[in-house]
């Protein structure tokens, strides 16, 4: 135990000696969160809209004029039948279609209620949800105006909302779990593998192996500091996501942290595994970046929805640890899922963890001989 303590102290000394790296490890998640958070909430101007007005009466035209008078929308095209909606979206120009029911004006005057439908292109879910809320606000305003004008007791415009291509608006708050996956991969897999590779490169690994330190102690000693760092990182990300950007934590916090810890262990083991196959820091870095970071970004569903990918890539994504982590964290944070709903994701991650540990131990032994 004494030996192990000496080793861990040494590892922390390396970290302290290199404050820039530590700073970067804490600055990256914060900067990334802020970037994602603010990019997503950017205002939209002059979004192109198509209008399908079945009614064409004073009240419906009044609504159209009011919408087009705002800064948010410009009219791209007027449609005449339902079949053109899909086409309008396919052209890629139109971001939203507003459908006004037949006899809109008459319905409002007679029944006090009219109906419109907002359809958005949710292949970019963030823009879609923004356009939706803009349109709703304008309609609400208009509803108020009509009430005042007609002196009716109440006027209701019933808004029906549909998104095309991404009905559940899946990635609205996904940037928090996504950043978590990315940062934990970076700190755990990259830093651990580089730090072990550094001992090999400098020849100190030889000395360590000749010393009474056991190989397992060496590996654990390498892993401990980064475990601490990444745990802090995880908390920082959750806190900023929650308090700065209002990303909800609907499920149990303990479950969220537990899931994160499992992923941290998984990423650390990956780091150790990478280090067993790389002789230099550079190789370790390359493998981590290309082999770990890119798939985390591209194949986990963080940025690009998995559903829209070719089947082959979807299959590849099944082997990506971040995919399962993302799924579990998303469900816990956004949907308030309990362990009963996510246990299978956790089980898959746990299985991967055991697999990577077995491979690393085997590789480590082979290298010793």
């Amino acid at each position: 135990m004494n030996r192990f303590k000496a080793f861990v102290i040494k590892e922390f000394r390396h970290l302290i000696r290199d404050p820039r790296t530590v700073f970067v490890l804490f600055a990256i998640p914060v900067i990334q969160l802020l970037l994602f958070g603010f990019v997503i909430s950017t205002e939209i101007k002059d979004a192109k809209i198509a209008i399908l007005d079945f009614s064409r009466d004073d009240l419906s035209e009044g609504l159209v004029n009011k919408i087009l008078a705002s800064d948010y929308f410009i009219l791209e095209t007027e449609l005449s039948n339902i079949n053109q909606i899909e086409q309008a979206f396919r052209s890629g120009q139109v971001k939203e279609v507003l459908v006004i029911e037949n006899n809109f004006g008459r319905n409002i005057v007679h029944d006090g209620a009219g109906a419109v439908q907002i359809i958005t292109d949710a292949s970019d879910p963030n823009i879609a949800s923004l356009l939706d809320s803009y349109t709703r606000n304008i309609i609400l305003d208009y509803q108020q105006e009509i009430s005042n004008k007609t002196q009716a007791a109440s006027t209701i415009i019933d808004v029906e909302y549909r998104m095309f291509y991404n009905e559940e608006l899946k990635s609205a708050h996904l940037f928090v779990p996504g950043t978590m996956a990315l940062i934990l991969m970076l700190v755990c897999a990259l830093m651990t593998s580089v730090s072990i590779a550094r001992e090999k490169e400098l020849g100190t690994m030889e000395i360590l192996l000749v010393s009474p330190l056991r190989p397992l102690q060496i590996v654990l000693g390498k892993v401990v500091p980064y475990m601490v760092l990444s745990f802090i990182d995880m908390l920082v990300i959750i806190v900023i996501g929650h308090f700065v950007f209002g990303v909800p934590v609907r499920g149990a916090t303990s479950l969220l942290i537990g899931t994160g810890t499992l992923f941290i262990l998984l990423a650390l083991t990956l780091g150790v595994m990478i280090s067993t196959i790389s002789k230099t820091q550079q190789i370790a870095m390359m493998i981590s970046l290309v082999g770990m970071m890119l798939p985390t970004v591209l194949l986990s569903g963080f940025i690009f929805p998995l559903k829209n990918m070719p089947v082959v890539l979807q299959a590849v994504s099944l082997a990506m640890p971040p995919r399962w982590f993302l799924q579990a964290v998303k469900d816990v944070m956004l949907k308030g899922a309990g362990i009963a709903q996510i246990w299978h994701y956790l089980a898959i991650m746990f299985g991967m963890l055991l697999f990577f540990i077995m491979v690393s131990v085997k590789k480590f032994k082979i290298r010793l001989d």
Binding site: K5, I9, V210
Partner: protein
């Protein structure tokens, strides 16, 4: 150097040591003993099988067959005990560049379980010996190569191992530093430590009490430098080496 000194007890015994990698025989039936307090030179061209032998003797690798004891412990079953009782210095003078001299000492002292109370006084003694006391808080990366070499040796012998293995400990340093380094080795030997050293400098081979010369996995010569020179009728170790390793 001294001729064959009165033989003390052996600290390394190697009988019929064989190490094969698949069909390749890296160590082909080695037999030798190293005695307490001697400087044993382990020579041979690159690829002759020196590194393989050192790995076995330092508990890193298990031989294919043979009966080998280091510091009284068996290389098959007692590698942990061997590791505790030997020191090792590699040709890279492997110290942690981003740590200070003191921190490097503390780390290795911890790994070899030097009692906490003894660490500082022993470190000061070791640093006094190499004249580096006032630099104890300097980072290793700021030190010249010759100093690193001395420090690497001090650290390799800090836990007072019975045997210290030096793997080409003088590669890359200038002749003056090399001479100084050997002074450091002589001092350590006087304290009763056994030194097992590999080198490619034949002038250094002269400093050894006995040298063995390996060629193609076999030990082809083993005796004191003077006896060897006489036996092969050459003036110096360099000619001897060339004559043997052809």
């Amino acid at each position: 150097m001294a001729e064959l000194q009165t033989r003390t007890e052996p600290v390394i015994t190697v009988k019929n040591m064989v190490k094969k990698f698949g069909g390749f025989v890296a160590n082909d039936n080695l037999n030798f003993e190293v005695f307490k307090g001697e400087i044993f030179g382990f020579l041979g061209a690159n690829g002759a099988g020196k590194t393989t032998a050192i790995k076995i003797l330092s508990g890193l690798s298990i031989p294919t067959s043979g009966e080998i004891k280091v510091a009284g412990f068996d290389v098959y079953t007692q590698t942990e005990l061997i590791k505790r009782n030997i020191g090792y210095m590699s040709q890279k003078f492997s110290l942690y560049e981003d740590l200070t001299i003191k921190e490097n000492f503390r780390f290795y002292a911890g790994v070899y379980r030097v009692p906490q109370k003894e660490i500082m006084p022993r470190m000061m003694d070791a640093l006094a010996e190499v004249g580096l006391i006032k630099y104890k808080d300097r980072l290793i990366s700021d030190l010249p190569l010759g100093w690193k070499q001395k420090l690497a040796f001090s650290i390799a012998t800090f836990h007072n191992p019975g045997i210290v293995f030096l793997d080409e400990p003088t590669s890359g340093v200038d002749p003056v530093a090399r001479r100084n380094f050997w002074e450091q080795i002589f001092k350590t030997v006087q304290k009763g430590t056994t030194v097992f050293v590999t080198t490619h400098y034949m002038d250094e081979a002269e400093y050894c009490n006995r040298v063995s010369i390996m060629d193609k996995g076999k030990i082809v010569a083993l005796n004191s430098p003077n006896m060897l020179k006489a036996a092969y009728k050459v003036d110096n170790m360099f000619d001897l080496f060339l004559k043997i390793v052809r």
